[in-house]
């Protein structure tokens, strides 16, 4: 048996199954998602009426920006608006 046993290599290959595709896609889309939240926050800072509308329905604001209004994105928008109060 060599120090680099093929069975060991096989076990190590098996130790890294792919992460769920949706998780990977969401993480890959992070920069775009951040940019879209930036746009919402900037507009909300400049337009009081728009800000009130966003605060009243965060999910709708996220959806209108073209993103899925999942809990993480809605929470991120809420946090970003709170930071800029």
């Amino acid at each position: 048996m060599t120090p680099y046993d093929e069975q060991q290599l096989a076990k190590l290959l098996a130790a890294l199954p792919p992460a769920p595709e949706g998780w990977v896609r969401a993480a890959q889309a992070l920069p775009k998602a951040r940019a879209e939240l930036d746009t919402i926050v900037e507009r909300a800072l400049a337009d009081e009426a728009y800000r009130a509308k966003v605060v009243a329905d965060l999910e709708a604001a996220v959806r209108e920006s073209g993103q899925e209004p999942d809990a993480a994105r809605v929470a991120a928008l809420r946090a970003r608006l709170a930071e800029n109060e």
């Binding site: 093929e6 992460a19 969401a26 993480a27």
Partner: protein, 190 residues
Amino acid sequence: MSQASSSDAQLVARCRDGDQRAWEELVERFSRYVYAIATQAFRLAPDDAEDVFQEVFARVYEKLDTLRDDEAIRPWIAQLTRRLAIDRIRASGREQPSEDELEAPEASDTMATLDEALSVHEALAGLSENCREILDRFFARDESYRTIGEALGLPGGTIASRISRCLVKLRELYEGRNEPLGASSGRVHT
């Protein structure tokens, strides 16, 4: 599947320059590692593992500028995942003791194994695309000979011998660039 077309440091530098494709590649390169640490070393439930997974990459994205050594992205990601997994366990109320006690005794061993596994996975990039696909599909994706044969347009009866040949090639490749397995340098600093 990730291919080490650029070094970790080069990839980090491109991400820092705002290269979206580089970010996607970085996520692809480390996604299995983060996932495995969360689910195997810390045995998080799927919902918790997903939150930790997304939080790790969100922190990496936000804090990339603070990384002092671009080559250190891998241990940094490992450490970040470990900390966030421990925070998650603590927050879930599953356990309340100290950080050392929160970490299962075998967690550091598992993290060292996963570090070695990531090195092997990266070594796949040196094989032909066909070998990469066959080995990844069979071992990491747990696909059957039949599924692999259908996906790659190969006779099912040849898959076993191809796996064997590709493993030999991987061993030769890995042997040429690493210390023997089991003599890991413990690159993950915990």
